[in-house]
């Protein structure tokens, strides 16, 4: 630790970071805390039942995580842009039901299973996108606040799912269920696709101009407009993206059940928002990181599944989830400063 002349090299005072400050900074990093909580939960559930650390159980956990993460990603985009989307759960239901009708029709014409699933995916995404367009029109053209606009489509979507399905499941596709269980190691093919979409959308949020616009609009829409961003167009696109992701989740549930259930996804918007809040995304917009949302969704999944796994009374599930959300909000309020947009 000396220079060429043998004199000890002294670091400038301002460069020295005492270890205590480093520890404090690490603890203040919500993603780190969430990661520690996640690991602690895994260790706890594993200590209660050794079967928890098996390939089969981790496959279950990842599948359940995938049933939530696309909705949570959708909410992350929407909430960072300064809005909220209450309709994603209903969109899962209506897209799953309509997609199931389309797939039933194809199956009755003896179309191959792969083609059926591909068309079903397109139809589900299309229905989700259509709901997103409706949200976008209500928000950017009719000037409804996002809460009200998406409340409208939440109610209408849930109702239409029942109308189309007549209250019963649509279709029966055992081959889809069988396919949903195939894959490699702890990843089914279906979950691999969902994880790939999540990674791509995470990169878009943090490493593209589109993502930066999202943070800018959520931080200060007026300033973003002055800076030349087409705010209405961007906001509209965010709701369409959220709708498409909800539609894809509808397809995800179809494959798991082998049918389009009109109740699938109903109420899941609250789980998605919970994951986002746990992950540290600010509900006032402009602040958040996708890794936080991912960790939030993982924690929710592990808690929900783990409590069943160790045979705890179901009533405790909601209590524990509520406590975790409260803890996350408290952690956010204790942070020394708000994290930067794409920090």
């Amino acid at each position: 630790m000396s220079d060429a002349g043998g004199m000890p090299r002294v670091r400038p005072r301002e460069d020295r970071v005492p270890w205590a400050r480093r520890v404090r900074a690490t603890i203040a990093n919500q993603q780190f805390v969430l990661f520690v909580v996640l690991v602690a939960l895994l260790v706890f559930f594993g200590s209660q039942n050794s079967r928890f650390f098996t390939t089969a159980e981790f496959t279950n956990l990842i599948i359940d995580f995938c049933g939530l993460i696309l909705l949570a990603v959708a909410e992350t985009y929407v909430i960072i842009s300064g809005g909220i989307d209450l309709s994603v759960g209903s969109t899962v239901a209506i897209s799953g039901v309509v997609g199931a009708f389309a797939m039933e029709t194809l199956a009755s014409h003896h179309v191959g299973e792969v083609a059926i699933l591909l068309v079903g995916t397109v139809v589900c995404a299309g229905i989700g996108g259509a709901v997103g367009v409706l949200n976008a029109v209500l928000i950017t053209k009719a000037n409804l606040v996002p809460f009200v606009a998406t409340l409208v489509t939440l109610s209408a979507g849930a109702g239409m799912a029942l109308v189309f399905s007549r209250g019963a499941d649509v279709g029966s596709n055992p081959a889809a269920i069988s396919w949903s269980a195939t894959g490699a190691w702890i990843f089914t093919w279906e979950s691999m696709i969902v994880i790939a979409i999540t990674i791509v959308l995470s990169l878009v949020l943090h490493f593209t101009a589109y993502g930066r616009y999202n943070f800018a609009i959520g931080s200060n829409a007026f300033a973003a407009r002055v800076a030349g961003i087409d705010v209405r167009r961007h906001v509209a696109s965010v709701y369409v993206v959220a709708g498409v992701l909800a539609g894809l989740t509808g397809m995800f549930f179809y494959i798991r059940l082998g049918a389009g259930a009109p109740t699938s996804g109903i109420g899941d918007e609250l789980n998605a928002i919970a994951a986002v809040v746990i992950g540290g995304v600010s509900l006032v917009g402009g602040v958040g990181v996708m890794t936080g949302t991912i960790l939030g969704a993982m924690i929710l999944t592990v808690v929900t599944d783990g409590l069943i796994f160790i045979n705890i009374q179901p009533t405790w599930n909601q209590v524990v989830v509520g406590a975790i959300i409260a803890l996350a909000v408290v952690l956010q309020s204790l942070r020394p400063g708000r994290q930067g947009a794409s920090a």
Binding site: N49, R51, F52, T54, A56, E57, N60, I63, D64, G67, S155, A158, G159, L162, V163, F164, R166, G167, A168, D169, S172, P174, I177, S178, S180, A181, F253, R256, L257, G258, A259, A261, P262, T263, S264, G265, I266, G267, T304, D305, I308, F309, I310, N311, I312, Q313, P314, T315, N317
Partner: protein, 343 residues
């Protein structure tokens, strides 16, 4: 484009506005209340309001078939209402309030809570209507004219026997190697679900000590949630059987078993939906416990009209219809008789 049943479902989504419109229409037509317990002349067309919990449920759809046929036969006006999805007093109470504004001659209600609806029963009686319960019943039965329900405790008992038989209790379940079974309910607060689980647990305790029932998973009427919960139970335990307390859980159980590949797990499920009967015939469900919703709907309308036309007529206060055990050995005629039908 939509069938009459679909339209009925759609009306359920906008229940409040539809019922309000009906209030105006009937008021304009001069509808008036009768004095308490006075016989209504045959010339005057009786109005019977019928409110159920989750109207889109095939169980209640089947009840509608019996109720509407009997109303037509007896020449009375039937107003059928209910929240399309939610089985909750929070959604049921506003609908009851609107129905009472119609001044019906009788109110038939399937209360979603044993006590929360009692003030509305009192109000109905004060304005001269008879009040009858169907399926579930309120705690205080004194003011209730008649109650027609299924024997859910007996159904739970039958389920325990059927599951023990399907698992080969005598040879496969021992003190050193007990059989673990999972239980799935839609809600732990619903009286019918609770009664079925109570009957099931009591029978296990009495006759099958080597069967261990896990804490119930709660599906919230969503098959994907049921599937996720059962997947956890399958992963955590060497599961031998599943008691699916309603049709939603039956669907979730079938999907979870198919995805896990553990097809030796035996399922006994409530409710004779067409899909459940098809699953039983395909070997995925060992037995079905069927209720008799069509008969319940028919009898309760019959009792209401009988008492309205002749207050001195005797109708049974409590009619408990047995739950029926259906197995793959049941005849086609028996299956057809008990399969839930839709209008």
């Amino acid at each position: 484009m939509f069938s009459s049943r679909s339209m009925r479902l759609f009306k359920g989504v906008v229940t409040a506005s539809v019922v309000t419109a009906s209030v105006v229409a009937l008021s304009a037509a001069g509808a008036s209340a009768t004095s308490p317990h006075a016989a209504v002349p045959r010339a005057k067309k009786l109005v019977v309001a019928f409110e159920v919990g989750s109207e889109a449920d095939p169980f209640f759809q089947s009840m509608y078939v019996g109720a509407s046929a009997e109303a037509k036969k007896l020449g009375v006006t039937l107003i059928w209402q209910g929240d399309p999805v939610n089985y909750s007093p929070a959604t049921q109470i506003p609908i009851v309030e609107q129905l009472l504004a119609l001044k019906p001659n009788a109110l038939i209600i399937a209360p979603t809570d044993p006590k929360a609806l009692e003030p509305y029963t009192t109000q109905a009686i004060k304005q001269g209507a008879l009040v009858l319960n169907v399926d579930s019943g309120q705690a205080n039965q004194k003011p209730i004219t008649a109650w027609v329900t299924g024997n859910n405790v007996q159904g739970g008992t039958e389920a325990a026997q059927a599951l023990a038989s399907a698992m080969g209790y005598a040879t496969n379940c021992t003190a050193s190697s007990p059989c673990t079974v999972a239980v799935g309910v839609s809600s732990i607060t619903t009286s019918t679900d609770a009664a079925r689980v109570a009957g099931f647990d009591a029978e296990l305790k009495k006759k099958y000590p080597h069967i261990v029932a896990l804490n119930p998973i709660v599906s919230q009427s969503q098959p994907s949630v049921a599937q996720s919960g059962f997947s956890q139970d399958i992963s955590a335990h060497n599961l031998k059987g599943i008691f699916a307390v309603d049709g939603t859980d039956a669907e979730g159980a079938a999907s979870a078993i198919a995805a896990s590949g553990k097809t030796d797990i035996k399922v006994v499920a409530y409710d004779a939906y067409a899909t459940n009967i098809a699953s039983m015939q395909a070997g995925k469900i060992a037995a079905i416990i069927a209720q008799q919703p069509t008969l319940e709907g028919k009898l309760i309308v019959q009792y209401a009209v009988t008492k309205l036309r002749n207050p001195k007529a005797k109708v049974p206060h409590l009619t408990t219809l047995p739950n029926i055990l259906l197995t793959p050995a049941s005849s086609a005629a028996t299956l057809a008789k008990y399969q839930y039908v839709a209008s």
